[in-house]
């Protein structure tokens, strides 16, 4: 049992913090938030410094480190700015599927491009009629002699309008029983004929991140664009979620910590009735709760990431981390807005944006209800 970060991990955390403090400009964040735009120049810089794809293998442009180190970076990024942090953390979204299951050629083609800032990735799982339940896909890929032909629509796709390639979960065997045994993952490059993407519209939060509906109308790609095994797509995606949920949990921990920092600072400055807000027991109890939730969420998240790096898959643990961290982000940002009062309700004071950016962590990568299903299923050994 050792809770101490290694020297290298401390250095990484510090480097991520210094980068975020230097580059995540508040006014720029507000501009991107208002315009619903991706912070491209800051993302490029983060890639050049090795923050994106830190967990990719060295031979494929990464830093050869683990999910744990990625979690440390993402937490620091989101702590400094919930919008920049989330957008950058998700810029390599689902690339891990290529990293874990892709062919050598696929890894060589995509991973160095993603980590160096030449490409953005997207994972297309959710469909208009299949959100939490992805056991059956309406998007179908038919194997023809010269390639796959894909038809269907995906929605709420992170990086949908800015991605350079899409990893698409398709039904490749309509007769498979149960249906999820007939699913496969196929890479579709940007610009493919019949591929279309449009933003889902104004969102409550994570407005610096693209979220789009992506449609495939007779899209043709070569047979070698299959990632992993044919018929194993569903399983590959579940394994990916085990990794990605630790990352989403770390965005939630960072968002919560960032909101807490601001609320603590304010409570020590603001005077009412002749004393600081921090001198009121009502405020003190809020701060104590917030700090306790954050610490618990962080420990769960670190354990989930560490466990994955040990080569173990434990969906119960990653679901607990994501469930608890997401709840913490929502509760802590709520209390942060409350502590700042009217000032917390306006865009200029940041916690308003943290509050909006927190909620998605209870929705995407599996809603909190799905996380509870996973946890309960593991507890009672549901078949």
């Amino acid at each position: 049992m050792d809770f101490e970060l290694t020297k290298e991990q401390k250095d990484i955390k510090q480097a991520a913090r210094e980068f975020a403090e230097g580059e995540f400009d508040k006014d720029l964040a507000i501009k991107h938030d208002k315009e619903h735009s991706f912070p491209r120049s800051v993302w490029k810089k983060a890639c050049e410094l090795g923050f994106v794809g830190i967990h990719f293998p060295e031979e494929f442009g990464g830093q050869g480190l683990g999910v744990f180190e990625n979690v440390l970076v993402v937490e620091e990024f989101c702590r400094k700015d919930s919008g920049f942090g989330t957008a950058l953390a998700l810029s390599d979204f689902a690339s891990e599927i290529v990293m874990r299951h892709g062919s050598r050629d696929q890894k060589a083609k995509y991973l160095p491009a993603v980590s160096s800032g030449a490409m953005i990735s997207a994972g297309c799982f959710t469909e208009p009629n299949h959100g939490s339940d992805i056991t059956g896909m309406d998007t179908a890929a038919v194997k023809e002699k010269d390639g796959w032909s894909i038809n269907g629509t995906k929605t709420f796709i992170t990086n949908g309008t800015i991605a350079d390639f899409y990893i698409v979960l398709c039904q490749t065997d309509q007769a498979a029983k149960p249906s999820y045994r007939g699913q496969s993952l196929i890479i579709v490059p940007k610009g493919a004929s019949g591929l279309d993407a449009a933003e889902v519209g104004d969102k409550m939060g994570i407005r610096m991140t693209s979220t789009a509906e992506v449609s495939f109308s007779g899209v043709k790609v070569p047979l070698e664009n299959l990632v992993g095994e044919e018929g194993k797509g569903f399983y590959h995606v579940l394994e990916f979620f085990d990794e990605s949920r630790a990352e989403i949990a770390s965005t939630a921990v960072g968002i919560a910590q960032g909101a807490f920092d601001r609320a603590l600072e304010y409570s020590k400055q603001r005077q009412q009735f002749g004393q600081r807000l921090a001198d009121f027991q009502a405020t003190q109890h809020k701060l104590a709760d917030m700090a306790t939730w954050i610490e618990a969420a962080r420990l769960l998240t670190y354990k989930a990431a560490w466990n994955f790096d040990q080569g173990r898959i434990d969906p119960k643990l990653t679901s607990m981390a994501k469930l608890y961290a997401g709840r913490t982000a929502v509760l802590v940002t709520d209390e942060a807005v409350q502590i700042l009062g009217g000032y917390g309700y306006i865009l200029e004071n940041e916690v308003e944006r943290y509050y909006r950016d927190a909620k998605i962590t209870e929705i995407y990568e599996g809603t909190k209800e799905i996380q509870k299903n996973t946890i309960a299923g593991a507890l009672i050994k549901k078949k």
């Binding site: 020297k7 290298e8 250095d11 990484i12 510090q14 480097a15 980068f19 050049e48 410094l49 090795g50």
Partner: protein, 263 residues
């Protein structure tokens, strides 16, 4: 160019609540975040840039205890080639003369062309270590340096003076320069840099290794004695500027100009 850069780990007090210790001789440091002295970070960046342009090596040195090692690793990750730690134990409570004596041993022992240091430290703010070190070494020096260009056997520098003035100097090498903030834009530490220094050994030198006798540094060897720290009483000399918005703006501009805030 062989360059030595002297760095220090200091508490970040810019936005923190600073609380005096009960003995009045220092501040409570438990809750403060520590990092590289801001001025030193610019000095490290400047040294790396000189190396990149002219070749050579950059060595960073600090007088500190084991938890200062992260500051040295940070400099290595930025691009310094070597790091040296002088065991800070015997230097506890040292004034700038004691610190400069410790650094002299390093600077004199190897053939450095240039020693860079921050113009001052963010904690005690003496601004003395660089000039005193130059005095001990018998080298020329310049303080508050805002630009450096290396010429054959010489270095041309710009110094920042009061009132927005600049002074240009040419110094023979070897020389000691103390660097002002803003001289460059320090690079970020990259993950590649951190990985490169992962297994770098940082030697820790004791007093004998820097040519000093026991008792020659530390509080009892000080020339300067700190009597007390205190928080200054709140000033009552605020000047209320009256007039139309345009008149007020004009007066503010005049005041800022007068004090060298704008050119």
């Amino acid at each position: 160019m062989e360059i030595l850069v002297c760095v220090k780990k200091v508490p970040d007090t810019a936005d923190a609540e600073v609380i005096l210790r009960p003995d009045g001789k220092g501040i409570k440091e438990d809750d403060l975040a520590f990092g590289i002295n801001e001025w030193d970070n610019y000095a490290v960046e400047e040294a790396i840039r000189i190396k990149e342009a002219h070749g050579g090596r950059v060595t960073v040195v600090t007088i500190g205890v084991s938890d200062s090692e992260d500051v040295l690793r940070r400099c290595l990750a930025m691009g310094a080639d070597d790091a040296i730690m002088i065991d800070g134990g015997p230097f506890a409570g040292s004034d700038p003369y004691g610190i400069a004596r410790g650094l002299r041993g390093i600077a004199a022992a190897r053939a450095y062309d240039l020693v860079l240091a921050g113009a001052q430290a963010g904690d005690d703010g003496f601004g003395m270590v660089g000039p005193v070190l130059a005095g001990y070494l018998g080298w020329s020096h310049a303080t508050l340096v805002t630009s450096v260009s290396v010429e054959d056997g010489k270095v041309a520098v710009t110094r920042e003076l009061e009132g927005g003035l600049e002074e240009r100097l040419r110094l023979a090498l070897p020389a000691v320069l103390t660097v002002q903030t803003g001289i460059n834009e320090p690079r970020y530490v990259s993950i590649m840099g951190i990985r490169k220094v992962r297994s770098k050994e940082i030697p820790v030198l004791d007093l004998a290794k820097v040519g000093l006798a026991a008792g020659s540094v530390g509080e009892n060897a000080n020339v300067l004695r700190r009597i007390a720290l205190s928080v200054p009483p709140a000033g009552k000399e605020a000047e209320m500027i009256k007039g139309t918005p345009a008149e007020i703006a004009r007066k503010i501009l005049d005041i800022v100009r007068e004090r060298g805030g704008v050119g």
